[in-house]
Point group: C2
Chain length 379, copies 2
C-alpha cells in the first residue's frame, strides 16, 4: 500500500479533528506532513505530539511564536504564508482543506498550482472562485474531492460515469433546526447552532438554520460537477439519510445514503477511489423505517432564495453573497443582528453590487473585501 502524505489545514476545527481521527485509525495508509490552526495552540500541541508533522502553521502570528517554544521536531510558521507553506510542501500528496470561510482561497489556489490533490471541506472558496479552482485543477491534473456530505454523495454517484448523461442534481437538505418552528422571531444563537442531525462548526450550523448552507452548496455543486444552476434542485429530507442524488437522462436517479456521520465522506475523500472500514453504526433501513421529502419554503427561509438568485446572476455576485453571509452570521452570533436580519443584510449588500462577469482572482479578493466592509456597516 502506498502511504499518502497529508496536510490538514484547520486541524483543530470540527472537520480537522475528525480527519485526524480517521488517519489515526488507519496509520498504515497515511502520514501527516502538516497541520495548521487558527489559534488553538493547546489542541494543536496535542495533535503535534500524536502525529509528528514536519510542518505546522498558525494563522495567528503571536500564537505561532508561543507554540514554537512548546514543541520540538517541527517547523512552525505564522500567518497566511505559513498556511501556504504547509499546503504546498513538496512531499504532500493530499491537502485536506478544513478551514471555514473565504480566507483560505489563497492556500487552496497555491496547493492546486503545486499539483496537490484536494479534499475540500470548505464551500466558501468554491462559491467565490469555483470557475478558477476547477479550471486550475484541470490544468494541473489534480483532483478536487469534496468532503461536504452532499457533494461527496454526488461525487460517489457520478464516480466513473460520463457526466454527459447527467440530467440534474438533487441536493437534499435536513431543513435545519427551525424547519417546523412556526415563529422565527427571537431565535437565540444558542438555539441556531443546534443542528438536528449533524454536529458541525458554528458558521455552518447557522448557515444550515437559515438554509443559506444549501444555497452555497448549489453554487459549489455547479462548479464541482459542471452542472447548470437551473438543473440543481433542493429537496428537504429531514432524516439526513440520503445525502444527495444524481438524475440521469434515462430516468434513473442514483443516491448515496449513510448515517449522518462525517467520518464517511472524510474517509472517502482520503482514500478515493478505495474505501476503508469505518466505525459508523450500520445503516439499517428497517430501523429508519421511512425517508421523507418536501419542498423548501423560500418565504420562511429567504437566504436560500438569495443564494439561488446569486447563483443565477453568477459572475462576482456569489462572492458578495458569501462574504456578506460570513459577516452577517458573525453579527448574529455576536448579538448585533437578529436571525431574520441575516438575509436582509445580505440582500442590502447584494443590491449595491455591480456584477463583474468571470472575475479574476484579484477582483474576487477585492470584491470580497468590499462586501465585508459594506456588511460590517450593518443594516
Amino acid at each position: 500500500m502506498v502511504v499518502k502524505n497529508i496536510s490538514v489545514l484547520g486541524s483543530t476545527g470540527s472537520i480537522g479533528v475528525r480527519t485526524l481521527d480517521v488517519i489515526e485509525k488507519n496509520r498504515s495508509r497515511f502520514r501527516v506532513i502538516g497541520l495548521t490552526a487558527n489559534k488553538n495552540i493547546d489542541l494543536l500541541e496535542v495533535q503535534i505530539k500524536k502525529f509528528n508533522p514536519r510542518l505546522v502553521a498558525l494563522m495567528d502570528e503571536q500564537k505561532a511564536d508561543q507554540l514554537k517554544k512548546r514543541v520540538k521536531g517541527c517547523k512552525v510558521y505564522g500567518g497566511l504564508e505559513g498556511i501556504v507553506k504547509v499546503a504546498t510542501s513538496e512531499e504532500v500528496d493530499l491537502v485536506v482543506l478544513a478551514i471555514v470561510g473565504g480566507r483560505v482561497l489563497i492556500p487552496l489556489i497555491e496547493a492546486i498550482r503545486c499539483k496537490k490533490d484536494i479534499a475540500l471541506a470548505n464551500k466558501e472558496t468554491m462559491v467565490m472562485a469555483g470557475h478558477i479552482i476547477m479550471s486550475l485543477s484541470l490544468e494541473n491534473g489534480c483532483k478536487v474531492i469534496p468532503i461536504d456530505s452532499e457533494h461527496s454523495a454526488i461525487f460517489q454517484c457520478l464516480d466513473g460515469k460520463d457526466t454527459h448523461y447527467v440530467k440534474g442534481i438533487i441536493l437534499t437538505a435536513s431543513g435545519g433546526p427551525f424547519l417546523d418552528r412556526a415563529d422565527l422571531e427571537d431565535i437565540k444563537p444558542s438555539e441556531a447552532i443546534l443542528h438536528p442531525n449533524w454536529q458541525m462548526g458554528k458558521k455552518i450550523s447557522i448557515d444550515s438554520a437559515t438554509l443559506m448552507n444549501k444555497g452555497l452548496e448549489i453554487i459549489e455543486a455547479h462548479h464541482l460537477f459542471g452542472v447548470p444552476v437551473d438543473k440543481i434542485k433542493v429537496v428537504i429530507h429531514p432524516q439526513s439519510i440520503i445525502h444527495s442524488m444524481v438524475e440521469f437522462v434515462d430516468g434513473t436517479l442514483l443516491a448515496q445514503l449513510s448515517q449522518p456521520d462525517m467520518q464517511i465522506p472524510i474517509s472517502y475523500a482520503l482514500t478515493y477511489p478505495e474505501r476503508i472500514q469505518n466505525t459508523v453504526p450500520e445503516l439499517n433501513m428497517l430501523e429508519i423505517g421511512k425517508l421523507s421529502f418536501r419542498e423548501p419554503d423560500l418565504s420562511r427561509f429567504p437566504a436560500l432564495g438569495l443564494a439561488i438568485t446569486s447563483a443565477h446572476i453568477g459572475g462576482s455576485m456569489p462572492v458578495v453573497l458569501n462574504a456578506t453571509d460570513e459577516v452577517a452570521v458573525e453579527k448574529f452570533l455576536g448579538g448585533e443582528i437578529r436571525f431574520q436580519e441575516i438575509p436582509i443584510l445580505i440582500k442590502k449588500v447584494m443590491d449595491k453590487h455591480q456584477v463583474i462577469e468571470n472575475p479574476g482572482l484579484s477582483e474576487i479578493l477585492e470584491i470580497d473585501k468590499w462586501a465585508r466592509l459594506e456588511a460590517e456597516k450593518g443594516l
Copy 2:
C-alpha cells in the same frame, strides 16, 4: 455511433414487447437481427413487418410452419434449436433473453459460448445454473447485463466500482398485492396477477405475490455479483422507487431510484455503458413524499423462506426450487392448487431432493426434469 445488432428471445412477451418499443424509439442505434416467440404468431408477424429481422424462431414447431407461409424475407425456425440459431447467429452483438422459465438455459449457454453479450430478463436460468453461466461469460469475455429492475439497480450502483469494497446487497421488494391482506386463503389467480406497481407477465406476478420472486432474486444476485447469500438482505419497500441498494465497507449505501417502468432497465441493458433518453415521466421526490421500509414476514410468505433456505444449501437445491415453483405456479393458475399450497408443494419436492454440489449442465437439466415430474404429482 456503432449500430448494435440484437436478437430478442421472447419478443412477444411482456419484456420482449417493451424491448422492441425501446428499439423502435432508437432506430439509429439498434438493428433487430432475430426474434423468437413461443407460439404467438400474430404478434410476431406484426413485429417482423416492423423490424425486418433476418432470423425468426418459434418454440412451437407447428406454429413455425404456419408462420413460414405468412412472412417473407426472413428465415423461420422451429423448436429449441431454432431459438439457439437466432441467439447465436454470427452478426448478433447482444441477445435479449426475455423468455420466462428454465427452458431457455440451453440457448443462453450457447449464446455465451458464441461470445454474445446478454441482456438478461430471465432469472430462472441464473437460479439453476448461475455458477456455470457466470464462469462461461468470464471465459468468453462477454457481459451479462441484468434487466430485472433490482439487479439492474445493483449493476448501476456497482458500475465501475471494485466489488472488493462491497459489504452487502439490499434487495427491495414491493411486497406484492397481498402485503397487507390479512387473509391469504381463497386467493384467486385473477387477484394474484394484479401487481400494485409493475405490469408484468403471469409467472413473475404470482412469484411476486408469494415473494418467491424475491427469493429467486437473492440467488440471481449472488451469482451475478459474486456476493455471498448471507450478505443479501430483503427489505419491503412498498413504493417500488428504490429498486435495490449496495452497501459498502465504509458505511455508504448507493441506491438506484426510478419510476417503476421496465423501459429504464431495458434501455440501460441495451445501451450500457451509455444512457439514452426515455419517455418515462420524471421521478419527482416531492410528489412521492416518502419512501418506507419494513421487514418481510416469512411466516405469511413462506416461499421466500424456502428460497433463502435453498440459497444457503446451494448446489442443486435452487434447481429444484425453481422447477417446482414453475410447476406450482402453473397449477395455481390452472386452479389445481390454492395460493398457500404453492410453497407447500415446493417444500415437498425440496425435502425429497438429494443435493449435488456444483452440478454440471446435464445434471442440472436432469434434476430440473425430475423436480418437474415430482411437482406434477401434486400435494
